[in-house]
C-alpha cells in the first residue's frame, strides 16, 4: 500500500520523467502484477481499489475508472500464478509488459465508454509501448523488493526441526 501511495504520488508530483522522456510513465500495472504474484485475493483487490482511486483523484479521469483495469491485471495474474514460472525473470518481464500495455488501453476504452474525450494519437501508441517495456522492467524490481521487505518484516515460518540459534543449543550426550 505504501508502495502504491508513493508511486501514485511520484507520478503526479515528480516531473523528471516528463522532462526526460516527454511523457509520464505509469508503473501501477507493474505494481498490481507484483501484488498478483505475491499477495492473497483480498490484498490484490484492495491494492487495485486503492491504487485506482488514488490515481483518479489526481487526474481528470472519472473517479473509479482506473480501478477495473488494474483489478483485471492483478486478478488475472493471481488466478494463474500457480501455472506461471513466477520466480523467473523472463516470465515477470512478459507479465509486466502485457499488463503495462493492456491497462492504459482498457482505461482509454472505458473513458470513451463513459463519454470522456481524452487526447489520443499515434504518439500515444508509442508512449503505450515504451510504458509497457518500463512496466516489464519494473516487475522483477518490485518483486525482489517485496521479497526483501517480507524477509525483513515478517516472522519466519515455524520449523520444528530447526533450533532458533545453533550456538544456544545444549547438546547432551557422552561426547
Amino acid at each position: 500500500m505504501i508502495g502504491a501511495y508513493l508511486i501514485v504520488f511520484l507520478q503526479s508530483h515528480w516531473q523528471g520523467p516528463r522532462l526526460w522522456l516527454g511523457f509520464q510513465p505509469d508503473l501501477t500495472p507493474a505494481l498490481l502484477v507484483c501484488a498478483g504474484l505475491t499477495l492473497g485475493a483480498g490484498q490484490v483487490s484492495t491494492a487495485a481499489m486503492l491504487t485506482g482511486l488514488w490515481l483518479d483523484s489526481l487526474s481528470a479521469n472519472p473517479l473509479g475508472l482506473s480501478v477495473l483495469p488494474l483489478f483485471i491485471a492483478g486478478w488475472a495474474v493471481f488466478s494463474f500464478r500457480e501455472l506461471i514460472l513466477r520466480e523467473e525473470l523472463v516470465a515477470q518481464f512478459y507479465l509486466g509488459t502485457a499488463a503495462g500495455a493492456a491497462v492504459p488501453l482498457l482505461q482509454v476504452w472505458l473513458l470513451q465508454l463513459v463519454g470522456s474525450n481524452p487526447l489520443l494519437g499515434w504518439q500515444m501508441g508509442v508512449w503505450c509501448l515504451v510504458n509497457a517495456l518500463l512496466c516489464g522492467v519494473a516487475v522483477p524490481v518490485f518483486y525482489r523488493l517485496a521479497k526483501l521487505l517480507d524477509r525483513w518484516f515478517s516472522h519466519p515460518p515455524h520449523d520444528p526441526n530447526r533450533w532458533p540459534n545453533e550456538n544456544r543449543q545444549i547438546v547432551r550426550g557422552k561426547n
Binding site: 501511495y5 501514485v8 504520488f9 507520478q11 503526479s12 508530483h13 516531473q15 516528463r18 522532462l19 516527454g22 511523457f23 509520464q24 505509469d26 483487490s45 487495485a48 481499489m49 482511486l53 488514488w54 490515481l55 483518479d56 483523484s57 489526481l58 487526474s59 481528470a60 479521469n61 472519472p62 473517479l63 473509479g64 475508472l65 480501478v67 477495473l68 483489478f71 482505461q107 482509454v108 473513458l111 463513459v114 474525450n117 481524452p118 487526447l119 489520443l120 494519437g121 499515434w122 504518439q123 500515444m124 508512449w127
Partner: protein, 261 residues
C-alpha cells in the same frame, strides 16, 4: 468490487467531485514533506557556498591568479545578469501595467495521465481561488483556467486540453476563431489549433494570436501564441491554423491566477 466501481461512476457529479477532492487530500502530507525537503535541500546548498577568506594566506595569494576569472568569463556573467535584470524589469513593468489583480502561485503537481493536460497549484478556496479564473504565466502568457478548486489546492486546465476551448483572434487582422486541442496527442504540449477562421483572411506564419474576450472566460488581449502554419478545412468552410503557445507548459513552476479582471 464491480458494484463499488459502478456506484462511483454513476453517483452525482457534485458528490463525486467532493469524494475525489477528499481522496486527493490524502496526498497533502506527502506534498508538504516534499516541499519542505526541497526547501531544506536548497538552503543546505546555499550553506555550502562559503564567503571569500578576508585574510588569504601567502600560499592562497600565490594561487589567486589561477582562480581569478578572465575578462571573457566576466563579460559572459555580465551579459547573463543584464538579461536576467531585463526580464525581471519587464515582468515588474508588466505587472504594474495590467489592469487585473493577480495571485502568484506555485505548481505542485500534474495530472497522472498523459491524455489530460492539467496542473495542480498550491492555493484553493482558502485564498479565494474560484472556478474558471484565468491562469497566466509569470510573463503574462495564457496558461489555462481553474477547473477544480479544493480547500488547499486547485487544478488548472491547460490550453491544449480537450476540455479547454476558448475564443481567440489574430492580433493583426482581428479575425476571430476558436482555440481547440490538437487533433492528435503530441509530446510537445505547446502546439494547439486555431479553427473556424474565415476563409478570406490571410493567415501567415508568425502572426500573433491573443484572447478575444468573447464569452467572458478570459480577458481580452492575453497573448496566446504564434501561428505556425494554416490550411483550409476538409469541407472548405473555414481556415484552420496550428499555433505554438508562448508559455512552455512542460516547465511551469510558478503561475499567476487572475483574481479580478
Amino acid at each position: 468490487m464491480l458494484l463499488t466501481v459502478f456506484l462511483l461512476l454513476v453517483m452525482p457529479e457534485s458528490v463525486r467531485a467532493r469524494l475525489k477532492s477528499a481522496i486527493g487530500g490524502l496526498f497533502l502530507p506527502a506534498i508538504g514533506i516534499s516541499t519542505t525537503s526541497h526547501a531544506a535541500l536548497q538552503s543546505l546548498g546555499q550553506l555550502g557556498v562559503s564567503e571569500p577568506d578576508p585574510f588569504p594566506t601567502n600560499q592562497a595569494l600565490g594561487q589567486e591568479t589561477k582562480l581569478r576569472p578572465t575578462v571573457h568569463e566576466l563579460q559572459l556573467d555580465n551579459a547573463r545578469l543584464a538579461e536576467e535584470n531585463k526580464r525581471l524589469r519587464e515582468a515588474l513593468e508588466w505587472e504594474q501595467r495590467i489592469p487585473w489583480e493577480t495571485k502568484l502561485v506555485r505548481v505542485v503537481g500534474r495530472d497522472s495521465f498523459n491524455w489530460w493536460r492539467r496542473i495542480k497549484i498550491n492555493l484553493g478556496t482558502n485564498k479565494e481561488v474560484r472556478l474558471n479564473q484565468p491562469v497566466i504565466s509569470v510573463r503574462g502568457e495564457l496558461v489555462g483556467r481553474i477547473s477544480e478548486v479544493g480547500p488547499l489546492t486547485s487544478w488548472v486546465l491547460l490550453v491544449g486540453d480537450p476540455n479547454c476551448r476558448f475564443s481567440a483572434l489574430l492580433k493583426e487582422s482581428r479575425s476571430q476563431g476558436g482555440i481547440v486541442s490538437p487533433r492528435q496527442y503530441s509530446a510537445d504540449p505547446r502546439v494547439v489549433e486555431l479553427t473556424y477562421l474565415p476563409n478570406d483572411v490571410e493567415v501567415r506564419p508568425g502572426q500573433a494570436v491573443v484572447t478575444s474576450g468573447l464569452g467572458g472566460g478570459f480577458p481580452k488581449e492575453i497573448p496566446v501564441g504564434l501561428v505556425v502554419d494554416s490550411w483550409i478545412s476538409k469541407d472548405g468552410l473555414y481556415t484552420e491554423a496550428r499555433v505554438k503557445l508562448h508559455a512552455n507548459l512542460n516547465q511551469l513552476e510558478t503561475v499567476r491566477v487572475l483574481t479580478k479582471f
